[in-house]
């Protein structure tokens, strides 16, 4: 797999459901990346972004305990972090100004995540 030849990345994971977060963590670790988080609440995310935050990419659940991730997604985009949305709503649930970022529909497979990371971060 192409991804195996990449250098490991630090990827921020924001997902409010434990089971799903644990699965994504496992997928990313299997792909050789390290996970920042998983961050499961917006309060924790806020705290994290207040500091000197950097990541090679971020995979964001759209709905965190009933609230949209979009304000935080904009801040991450401003920091130059490549974004990947993971959403049960599909691409239609993404705020218009963020719609150019890729979306992976839930449930997703390891291959889908790997493929998405490839397109986001061309060699």
């Amino acid at each position: 797999m192409k991804t195996d030849m990449r250098k490991p990345m630090s990827i921020l994971v924001v997902e409010d459901e434990s089971l799903i977060a644990m699965n994504l963590e496992m997928i990313l670790e299997d792909l050789g990346h390290s996970v920042i988080g998983p961050v499961m609440t917006l309060r924790d995310l806020e705290q994290m972004l207040e500091g000197d935050f950097r990541a090679d990419a971020a995979i964001l659940d759209v709905n965190i305990a009933g609230e949209h991730i979009f304000p935080y997604a904009r801040r991450l985009a401003d920091l130059g972090v490549p974004l990947l949305f993971a959403s049960g709503y599909g691409a239609s649930g993404i705020s218009e100004d963020l719609a150019h970022h890729p979306v992976v529909p839930k449930p997703y497979t390891e291959e889908e995540i790997a493929g998405m990371l490839d397109t986001m971060l061309p060699a």
């Binding site: 409010d16 459901e17 434990s18 089971l19 799903i20 977060a21 644990m22 699965n23 496992m26 998983p38 499961m40 609440t41 917006l42 309060r43 924790d44 806020e46 709905n63 305990a65 959403s87 049960g88 709503y89 649930g93 529909p105 839930k106 449930p107 997703y108």
Partner: protein
């Protein structure tokens, strides 16, 4: 003569005094029906005609009415047979004084008598004239009752109707449904711009002008119109189906606009809610599938053999499913903590596992998470702890602490001594993730001689789903 709305004489002239054989002093201020009682059909017709004029403000004609009047005693007393025609016209009083009826009546008794005699050929023309007057009266009555019936139907129709007259669109009619739509405001006699200032800016005036000018019908489907609520003063979103049709006079000239339609707001809002609900359902189904995927993938990875994996996957999916059942029964609003725990440990002997705690409401998210948490704890007890022996017991206690935390204690005893495992399995990681990751709480396990125990501490409001400031 002129009557007030109670049928009392307000004014009479000489001709009237003469024809009814009474002086004005006997008439003014007295009720017509007291002076000239008539319990028959004629009495009713006369009364109805007066009342119609008062009510509608429009003139009314009685072309022919037999109405006997009492003869004054000095003229011999008794009743005198009389026949009349009468035109009743509304007369406005001073501001706020209400309406009066003016009656212009002609005593046609002589003509009738001649007709009854019917033998004199040279009177024929007059009797024919009277006959025509009588027919006209019949037709007029039929028309009046027909239009009254139409009016009543329009008034009560479920759709809204209004008639606008003239180039400025003055309301001349609005039915009950129209009044409900715009709130109880003064419409009749006012222009649309005056009566409904808030809709003037929404393109409505241009549409009305266009229909009045060109006569072309306008139709709208589920058009959004903001209407001010008369009571709260706030603009309210409505969705209306409506049409504007030009009203023409007999020469074909446009005299006004006929407005009809129905309020579709509830329909449109229901469709909107349904779309939201479908999107939400889709989101939940996808998330649930992702949870199932995670359970399968991670159980397969940690299980020592396929048979164990199959059993563990089945049990975890069942735990997830049971939590959904409880939520579904509560219309996905909330569940009670005791029910979530009770449902999960229901397979065990109640002698072996005790629950003790107050009612505590869990949000949907917390319900699913707690179901999984309790499932992992009890699975662990069955595999390695108190429930792996014949006599071990588990005590589960919870309470809300004064500091706002929910404290749940899981205490096993009577089983083998507990030893801390070398690595963390799926269950332990899931519990950690739920307690500290999802809810920012603390999970404190303890492995003792007596058995396994743990304390879960989480801010109560977070479990209830109360929004907390981030």
């Amino acid at each position: 003569m002129v009557l007030d709305r109670n049928h009392c004489y307000v004014a009479v002239n000489k001709a009237y005094e003469k024809v009814v054989m009474r002086d004005r002093e006997e008439l003014i201020g007295r009720n017509l029906f007291d002076l000239f009682p008539n319990d028959g059909e004629s009495g009713q017709r006369l009364r109805q005609s007066f009342d119609r004029v008062i009510e509608t403000g429009e003139a009314d004609t009685l072309a022919y009415i037999p109405y006997d009047i009492p003869r004054p005693p000095e003229l011999g007393g008794g009743m005198e047979q009389r026949y009349w025609t009468a035109v009743h016209t509304p007369v406005s009083g001073k501001a706020g004084a209400g309406r009066y009826v003016m009656q212009n009546t002609v005593d046609v008794t002589d003509i009738v008598r001649l007709r009854q005699a019917a033998s004199l050929p040279f009177r024929r023309a007059e009797t024919q004239l009277l006959e025509r007057a009588r027919e006209a009266e019949e037709q007029h009555k039929a028309l009046m009752s027909e239009s009254a019936e139409f009016r009543r139907l329009f008034q009560l129709a479920p759709g809204f109707f209004a008639v606008l007259t003239g180039p400025d669109h003055v309301f001349t009619f609005a039915n009950d449904a129209y009044m409900r739509l715009v709130g109880e405001r003064q419409l009749i006699g006012r222009t649309v711009r005056e009566a409904l200032p808030e809709v003037s800016g929404q393109g409505i005036m241009d549409l009305l002008d266009e229909v009045y000018r060109t006569g072309t019908q306008y139709q709208a489907e589920a058009r959004r119109v903001m209407i001010r609520n008369v009571e709260s003063g706030e603009l309210q979103e409505t969705y209306l189906d409506f049409s504007y049709d030009a009203i023409r006079d007999t020469k074909g000239n446009i005299t006004g606009v006929f407005v009809q339609g129905s309020d579709r707001s509830e329909d449109v809002k229901r469709q909107h809610r349904q779309r939201l609900l479908l999107a939400e359902l889709n989101h939940r189904v996808k998330n649930t599938l992702a949870s199932v995927q995670s359970i399968v993938a991670q159980t397969l990875r940690s299980a020592p053999d396929p048979a164990t994996a199959r059993k563990d996957i089945g049990a975890r999916l069942a735990a997830l499913s049971k939590a959904h059942n409880l939520l579904s029964a509560q219309e996905w609003a909330s569940t009670d903590l005791a029910e979530i725990i009770g449902q999960e440990v229901a397979v065990f002997d109640p002698e072996r596992i005790s629950l003790d705690g107050p009612r505590f409401t869990l949000s949907p998210k917390a319900s699913i998470s707690f179901a999984m948490l309790v499932h992992e704890l009890s699975t662990n007890a069955v595999k390695y702890g108190a429930l792996s022996t014949d006599s071990g017991t588990v005590a589960v206690q919870w309470k809300e602490e004064p500091d706002g935390n929910l404290k749940l204690i899981w205490r096993e005893s009577g089983g083998p001594p507990a030893t801390e495992p070398a690595g963390k399995g799926f269950g332990a990681r899931l519990i950690e993730s739920i307690v500290s990751g999802e809810f920012g709480g603390a999970f404190n396990p303890s492995f003792c001689e007596r058995g396994f125990s743990c304390i879960v501490t989480i801010e109560a409001d977070k479990l209830r789903g109360v929004k907390v400031q981030t």
